[in-house]
């Protein structure tokens, strides 16, 4: 058990390091970041200062060395500065992370609260109203592109009906109610796909459990149907959705890139996309580090949850 734990942890670290290295090297391929600072057709820049900037950014060294410097600085808590404004990346991150985490958390709660109960209901009365409702949500959630759903939500609820704001997180000093309003569209749009995943997973796992021998036995013994469903079946059917929930939070932080762009949400996803387009490699590398580390953590948590929830699984390797 302890051995498995340690092994899993080491792999998580290797994974994150490899992921950041890949993106780090790629971002160096995009082109010389100096081109964004100095435009050849603009003001003249002497050869010497061009070289000096290259030296300052460490561009004259081989790629692996550059990565080594970057990662060892990161370990010491220095994430470098942004290319254009020369602000510390960490400062920028601290501004953006809360918005991203909040949106992901709210969407995650919505997805869970919609997906799991509806999945159970849909499995219990197969072919009933809830089954069709649930399957409809799942069907649309997995087929409709997130960016289009976002645009349509804006079109209907902001442009036509004028009920909800079209984007952004609203000013800091806005009232609680106002802030909630800003959350509604992005979180529902983001949560829909997750709810669809939950629904399908819960439904199939519930159906499988309800079909098992011990449920039949419980029924035959005369246990009330509510007790059979919630006490006997639901607990065991919960394992797949439980592990899914950990990964879903990571997926949300990932898929959020598009939602943030559509809704103009002041979060990490947008920051990361902009840093790609501007070739701001410190910001980009840090974003990827953040996303990859989060994903690795969540995958780890999912494994642990899985082991905890299902004692039959023993990792004896």
């Amino acid at each position: 058990m302890a051995k498995f734990f340690v092994r899993r942890l080491i792999f998580a670290v290797i994974t994150v390091a490899a992921a950041t290295f890949i993106v780090f090297s790629l971002s160096r391929l995009v082109g010389d970041p100096r081109d964004f600072l100095i435009r050849p057709e603009g003001y003249g820049v002497s050869e010497e200062s061009y070289e000096a900037i290259g030296k300052k950014l460490g561009l004259d060294r081989p790629l692996v060395v550059q990565y080594w410097f970057w990662i060892s600085n990161v370990v010491r808590g220095d994430f470098g500065k942004t290319l254009l404004t020369e602000r510390p990346v960490i400062e920028l991150f601290m501004e953006k992370v809360p918005a991203t985490l909040q949106l992901a958390a709210v969407s995650w709660i919505i997805a869970t609260l919609v997906g799991v109960p509806l999945g159970v209901m849909s499995a219990i009365n197969r072919g009933g109203v809830f089954d069709y409702l649930g399957r409809g949500i799942a069907l649309f959630g997995q087929a409709i592109p997130v960016f289009w759903l976002g645009i349509m939500a804006i079109l209907i609820f902001s442009v036509q009906l004028n009920w909800l704001p079209a984007g952004s997180k609203g000013p800091y000093e806005a009232s609680f109610w106002e802030q909630i309003k800003h959350f509604v569209l992005p979180s529902v749009v983001l949560g829909w796909g997750g709810a669809a995943g939950y629904l399908r997973l819960t439904r199939s796992s519930m159906l499988e459990v309800l079909d098992s021998e011990y449920i039949k036995l419980a029924r035959a013994k005369g246990v009330s149907s509510r007790s059979v469903i919630w006490k006997h079946a639901f607990r065991n059917a919960l394992i797949p959705p439980l592990t899914f929930s950990a990964l879903l939070l990571a997926f949300f932080l990932n898929g959020q890139v598009i939602v943030e762009v559509v809704f103009g949400w002041p979060g990490l996803g947008r920051l990361a996309t902009e840093s790609v387009f501007q070739n701001d490699f410190n910001t980009l590398s840090t974003s990827v580090l953040f996303f990859a580390a989060l994903f690795a953590t969540m995958a780890f948590v999912a494994d642990m949850l899985y082991m905890f929830a299902d004692p039959r699984i023993r990792y004896s390797e």
Binding site: A19, F140, Q142, A143, P145, F147, V159, T273, V288
Partner: protein
């Protein structure tokens, strides 16, 4: 006991006659009729795009700028689904866009499937260190945020059709590896594989003559479940501006084009989105149906 019971229950006293409505409804429920129709239209339109489309996809006409669809006030038969920001015919662009979608999804899926299956076969067959290394690579690949990765890659090599195809193939392969590997691990213990090894078959022969046919159903099901995701990924990349470059009419780009005209011309963004949704939905339906037919064990995968 069970057999006897069902025999008795199933013997009908009177032969039932179902209404034609019920029989045709049953047919629709049993076979993927609607998705099949949508996909048939898609394929037809892909092949005959230039013949079917009423206009060229790049012909601009400023008089038709943001022209509403034909059934709305001010619409004309010149632009059946309306005109876009520079007056191009949305219907014709949708038709030509279908070609892009089918081609991109098809090519990336096939190459991803071939590569993923090969890796899965190798990992499962050899086991040990090779298996461990390959599976860790898959794990690493899973932890990279795809959209960001694709953005970086596409921008480093200038957006082009080839780069997008490669990116999507890279997205497609990982799903195959895990499932094919699991399948191969089972096949390895079968007697016919042992027998062929005793008979002196080479490794390659065992892999491709004896194991590959065994995993073929799984490949088919995984592929059909994966197409939808590839189409969505392509559309997302196009939407973010890192997809197939203009003037090729990709559906995702068309949605992005209409974003700034939501209050005056909603149709510009709406119709391409419906096209994406319908296509993906049909593929998903078909995938579910295939899975239930061919390989119900994969239920948990999707």
């Amino acid at each position: 006991m069970v057999d006897l019971h069902s025999k008795i229950m199933r013997t009908p006293a009177v032969k039932r006659v179902y209404s034609p409505f019920k029989t045709s409804w049953d047919f629709v429920r049993r076979w993927p009729v609607l998705p099949g129709m949508v996909l048939a239209v898609l394929v037809f339109v892909t092949i005959f795009a230039s013949q079917v489309a009423p206009h060229s996809f790049r012909e601009t006409d400023l008089r038709q700028r943001n022209k509403p669809p034909i059934w709305m006030e001010g619409g004309s038969s010149e632009r059946i689904l309306g005109g876009d920001v520079v007056g191009r015919d949305i219907l014709s662009r949708l038709i030509h866009g279908a070609r892009v979608t089918v081609m991109v999804a098809g090519i990336s899926l096939v190459s991803g499937a071939i590569f993923g299956t090969a890796i899965g076969l190798i990992a499962g067959y050899y086991g040990g260190l090779i298996d461990e290394v390959l599976m860790r690579i898959v794990d690493i690949w899973f932890s990279i945020p795809f959209i960001l990765f694709a953005l970086v890659v596409v921008l480093s090599f200038e957006p082009s059709l080839q780069v997008v195809l490669i990116m999507l193939a890279i997205l497609a392969w990982s799903a195959f590896v895990r499932n094919i590997r699991a399948e191969v691990l089972l096949l390895k213990t079968t007697e016919y594989v042992a027998a062929s090894r005793v008979a002196g078959a080479s490794t390659l022969r065992i892999m491709f003559r004896h194991m590959l046919p065994g995993v073929f159903n799984t490949i088919l099901v995984l592929a059909s479940l994966r197409v939808g995701q590839l189409i969505l990924a392509e559309a997302s990349l196009s939407f973010l501006g890192a997809g197939i470059p203009a003037p090729t009419p990709a559906w995702g780009v068309m949605v992005a084009d209409g974003r700034n005209y939501l209050d005056s011309a909603w149709w510009v963004s709406t119709f391409p989105g419906i096209a994406i949704g319908l296509t993906v939905m049909s593929f998903n339906f078909l995938g579910d149906w295939l899975r239930d037919k061919l390989d119900p064990r994969l239920r948990q995968v999707a």
